[in-house]
C-alpha cells in the first residue's frame, strides 16, 4: 500500500510536470493551428537559464529569471520568425519551428557542451517532506508538483474569469469570428505564445534540477508532450491535464512492475511463442513505451482525443 501511494504521488508529480509543458503547446495550437516543435526546447532553455542565473540571483531568483527570459525568447521567435512564414501556410510554420528546435539544441551544445551541466537542487531544499511507511518523499518533488498545481489553477482562473481569458478561449474556438469582432488576434496570439513559452521555461527551471539538464532534455520530453496533445485533443486544457496525469501515473506504476515478458506469455498460455530474447525483458525497462502505446490505442478508439471535437 505504501509503495502504491509513493508510485501514485511520483506519477502525479511527473504528470503535472508534463502538463506544465503541454498546456502552452495545446493552447497555441488550438488558437492558430501552429504546432510549435520548439516548445520542449523552451523547456530545456528554462533549465539552462535558471542554472546560469542561479549563480548570481539564487535559486528563487533563477526561477523568475528563467521564466521571464524564456518568455522573451518565445515572444521574439513568434514575432521575428514565425510571422515571416505565416503567409506560406502551416507546413512552413511547422518546418520553421522544427528548425528552431534543431538550432536551439545545437546552440546549447555550442555554449554548454553536449553533456549535462551541474544544475542541482540547492542544499537548503534537500529535506524530506513526509514519510509514507518507510519511504521518504523529498520536499523538492512536492515543490515541483505544487508549482504545476499553482500554474494550473492560475491559468485556469485567468482563462475563466478575466476578459483577456475570454478572448483567448474564444479565439481558440473561432479565431476569424473574434477577429471580426474587432479584437487584435495576432497580438493576443503573440501574448499567448510568450506566456506558453514562459510556462515551459518555468517547468524546465524546476525540473532541470531533478532530472539531468542536458541538450537531450528537449527531445526526451518533446515526444511525450506530443502524445499528450494527440491524446488530450485539440486546444483542450482539461484533455491535456487528464492525458498528462494518466501518462505520469501509468509510467510510474510500470517502473515498479518486476515481471518479464516471459511471465506474461506464460500467464496467457503462450509460452510456445518464444520471440528471441524478449522473454527476459522486464516490463519496467520498457515503461517508456507505454505513453506511445496508449496513443495508438486512443487513436483507434477516439481519433480526435479525449476532449477533442474537431478531427
Amino acid at each position: 500500500m505504501d509503495a502504491f501511494l509513493v508510485a501514485l504521488l511520483n506519477g502525479l508529480v511527473y504528470g503535472l510536470l508534463v502538463f506544465m509543458v503541454s498546456a502552452g503547446l495545446t493552447l497555441v495550437f488550438g488558437m492558430m493551428g501552429v504546432l510549435n516543435f520548439a516548445h520542449a526546447s523552451f523547456y530545456m532553455l528554462g533549465a539552462y537559464a535558471a542554472f546560469l542565473s542561479g549563480r548570481y540571483v539564487g535559486f528563487w531568483g533563477g526561477l523568475v529569471v528563467a521564466t521571464l527570459a524564456v518568455g522573451l525568447v518565445g515572444l521574439f521567435s513568434e514575432r521575428l520568425l514565425l510571422r515571416k512564414v505565416r503567409s506560406f501556410g502551416h507546413t512552413q510554420e511547422l518546418l520553421l519551428t522544427y528548425g528552431l528546435f534543431f538550432m536551439i539544441e545545437e546552440v546549447v551544445k555550442l555554449l554548454f557542451g553536449p553533456t549535462p551541466v551541474a544544475y542541482r537542487v540547492p542544499d537548503e531544499l534537500r529535506f524530506t517532506a513526509f514519510t509514507i511507511g518507510n519511504s521518504q518523499f523529498p520536499f523538492f518533488r512536492l515543490l515541483m508538483g505544487a508549482t504545476a498545481l499553482v500554474m494550473f489553477f492560475g491559468t485556469f482562473a485567468a482563462l475563466r474569469f478575466t476578459r483577456i481569458g475570454l478572448i483567448v478561449r474564444a479565439a481558440v474556438e473561432r479565431p476569424q469570428m473574434v477577429s471580426a469582432l474587432g479584437h487584435n488576434v495576432p497580438i493576443v496570439f503573440s501574448g499567448l505564445f510568450a506566456v506558453g513559452s514562459a510556462l515551459a521555461g518555468l517547468a524546465g527551471a524546476v525540473a532541470g534540477m531533478y532530472y539531468p539538464t542536458s541538450p537531450a532534455m528537449a527531445h526526451e520530453l518533446g515526444s511525450i508532450v506530443f502524445v499528450v496533445v494527440v491524446i488530450g485533443g485539440l486546444g483542450s486544457l482539461n484533455g491535456a491535464l487528464a492525458a498528462s496525469l494518466l501518462i505520469g501515473v501509468m509510467t510510474s506504476f510500470a517502473v515498479g512492475i518486476e515481471s518479464t515478458f516471459g511471465d506474461l506469455f506464460r500467464a496467457l498460455g503462450l509460452s510456445g511463442l518464444a520471440l528471441p530474447g524478449l522473454e527476459a525483458v522486464q516490463f519496467s525497462s520498457i515503461a517508456g513505451v507505454l505513453p506511445y502505446a496508449l496513443m495508438l490505442f486512443v487513436l483507434l478508439w477516439r481519433p480526435a482525443g479525449f476532449a477533442g471535437n474537431r478531427a
Binding site: G222, S223, L300
Partner: protein, 434 residues
C-alpha cells in the same frame, strides 16, 4: 504545399533539354571512379544512399502532402533486416547478394503498412506528431531487444561474393549502390506518373472529393506511406551493405532530421529536388566536418534561411530561374548581385560569430587564458588570428551584419512585409522597398 511540376510537353526540343542534363550527370557518375580518390568515392556512396532515402521520404511529402518527422525508423529497420539477411547468407542461405536491398525494403514496407495505418488516421500536424511518437515507440523497443537488434554494439556481417562479383572492392560497392539508387528513383518516377500517383495527388489537394469518387483514401495513404517506408528501407539496406554493420543508434532522431533537412533544402516540390539537397548536405558534411565542430549548427542555419527566404528549396529557385529565362524577360543582375553580396557578408559575419563564441566558451580556452596571462587569447578564424574582445573584431562583425542588412533590405523585404524572397529576386520582382 507546392504542387509538383507536372506539365507534360510533347516538343522534341524540350525532351532533349530535359533528358540531356540527366544523361550528362549519369555519365559523370559512371565515369567518376576513373578520376576520384577513395575518400571521395566513399562520400559519393553516402550521397547515393542519402539521395535514395530522401526520394523515398519525399514520395510521402511531395505526392501525398504528409510530412513525416520520424522516417529514421524505416531507414534503420531496413538496415537491420538487411544485415540479418547478410548474416543468413554468411550462414549458408541461398539469398542472392545483389538483391539484399530488397530484403530491407520489403521489411520496411511491411512495417510501414502497420505504422502508416495508424499515422494516416489523422492528417497535418497530427500526422507529424504521430510519426514522432511511433519512432519513439520503436526506438524504445529496439534499444532493449539486444538479442534481436544487437544493442549498442550492433550487428556486423560481411558481403558475400555472388557469382563473379566479389563485392569486396569499393568500386563494386559504388556501382552497386548507384544502380540500386537509380532503380529506386525510376520506380518512384513511374509511380508518380501512374494513375495511382494521380489519385494520391488528388488526396493531397482535396481528400473529401477523392473519397466521394469511391476511393478508400485511408487505405491509399497507408499504401503510399508503406512504399515510402520501403524505399527508405532500401536506402537503409544499402547503408548496411556498405558498412557491413548496423547499430541501434540508426533509430535515433538525427536520421529523421537529416532526411527532412535534405528534402527542405533541395525542395519537396520538384521530383529530383531531394537528390539535390542530399548531395549538397552530404558533400557539405564531408568537406566541412573537418573544418569546424559546429557544422550541424551551420546546417540548421541554412535550413532556417531556406524555410524563411526560399520556401520551395534550391530546386524551386532553379525552376523559377529557368522559367524566367524562357519567358525572355531581362535578368535583373543588379538585384541578384546585391542579393548575393548581401548574403555573402552576412554569412561571413555569422561564421565569425559562431566560431569565436565556440572557441571562447571551451573550457580549454579559460585554461589558456589563465596560463598565458592574457585575458582574451587570440582565436584563428579564416586563417587569421582575432582577439575576441577587441573593438576591432566586434566592430568588424557588426559592420558585416550592418552592410548585409543594408544590401538585403530592398531585395529580401523586411519581417513585417513578408513579400520578397530570393525567388522574387530571381524573378526580377523588386522588394517593397524599391
Amino acid at each position: 504545399m507546392p504542387p509538383q511540376e507536372q506539365s507534360p510537353r510533347s516538343s522534341a526540343r524540350v525532351t532533349v533539354v530535359r533528358i540531356l542534363p540527366i544523361a550528362l550527370v549519369l555519365g559523370a557518375l559512371i565515369g567518376l571512379p576513373r578520376f576520384a580518390d577513395m575518400a571521395f568515392l566513399n562520400a559519393m556512396v553516402m550521397v547515393c544512399i542519402a539521395a535514395l532515402y530522401a526520394m523515398g521520404y519525399n514520395l510521402l511529402w511531395g505526392q501525398a502532402g504528409l510530412i513525416s518527422f520520424g522516417h529514421a525508423t524505416y531507414f534503420a529497420f531496413g538496415a537491420s533486416c538487411t544485415i540479418m539477411t547478410m548474416a543468413a547468407i554468411e550462414g549458408g542461405s541461398s539469398f542472392p547478394t545483389p538483391l539484399l536491398p530488397l530484403a530491407g525494403g520489403a521489411a520496411s514496407f511491411l512495417m510501414g503498412l502497420v505504422a502508416g495505418w495508424f499515422a494516416t488516421i489523422r492528417t497535418g500536424v497530427y500526422f507529424a506528431m504521430i510519426t514522432v511518437a511511433i519512432t519513439e515507440l520503436v526506438r524504445a523497443i529496439v534499444q532493449r531487444w539486444d538479442s534481436m537488434f544487437g544493442g549498442e554494439a550492433g550487428i556486423t556481417s560481411i558481403r558475400m561474393a555472388w557469382g563473379p562479383i566479389g563485392f569486396q572492392k569499393l568500386l563494386d560497392v559504388y556501382y552497386f549502390t548507384l544502380a540500386w539508387t537509380i532503380i529506386g528513383i525510376l520506380l518512384l518516377w513511374f509511380l508518380q506518373r501512374s494513375p495511382l500517383g494521380t489519385v494520391i495527388r488528388g488526396i493531397r489537394e482535396q481528400e473529401e472529393r477523392v473519397r466521394f469518387l469511391g476511393y478508400d483514401t485511408h487505405a491509399l495513404k497507408t499504401l503510399v506511406f508503406a512504399i515510402s517506408a520501403g524505399v527508405s528501407g532500401m536506402a537503409g539496406g544499402l547503408l548496411a551493405f556498405t558498412n557491413e554493420s548496423t547499430n541501434v543508434a540508426l533509430y535515433e532522431g538525427a536520421y529523421s532530421t537529416t532526411v527532412l533537412i535534405n528534402t527542405v533544402i533541395g525542395g519537396a516540390g520538384v521530383f529530383l529536388g531531394p537528390v539535390v539537397g542530399a548531395t549538397l548536405t552530404t558533400l557539405f558534411g564531408y568537406y566541412v566536418a573537418n573544418l569546424t565542430y559546429y557544422w550541424l549548427l551551420y546546417m540548421g542555419l541554412l535550413f532556417m534561411v531556406i524555410v524563411v527566404y526560399a520556401p520551395r528549396g534550391i530546386s524551386g529557385l532553379g525552376v523559377d530561374a529557368v522559367r524566367r529565362l524562357r519567358s525572355g524577360a531581362p535578368v535583373r543582375w543588379d538585384l541578384l548581385g546585391r542579393f548575393a553580396l548581401g548574403w555573402l557578408v552576412v554569412t561571413i559575419g555569422a561564421i565569425m560569430t559562431i566560431e569565436l563564441i565556440g572557441a571562447v566558451v571551451q573550457p580549454s580556452y579559460g585554461a589558456l587564458a589563465r596560463s598565458s596571462g592574457v585575458a582574451w587569447p587570440p582565436v584563428r578564424v579564416f586563417w587569421v588570428s582575432w582577439s575576441p574582445a577587441s573593438p576591432l573584431t566586434l566592430g568588424g562583425i557588426a559592420l558585416l551584419f550592418g552592410l548585409g542588412a543594408v544590401l538585403l533590405r530592398d531585395t529580401a523585404g523586411t519581417a513585417s512585409r513578408n513579400v520578397s524572397t530570393l525567388a522574387d529576386a530571381i524573378a526580377g520582382k523588386p522588394g517593397p522597398g524599391v
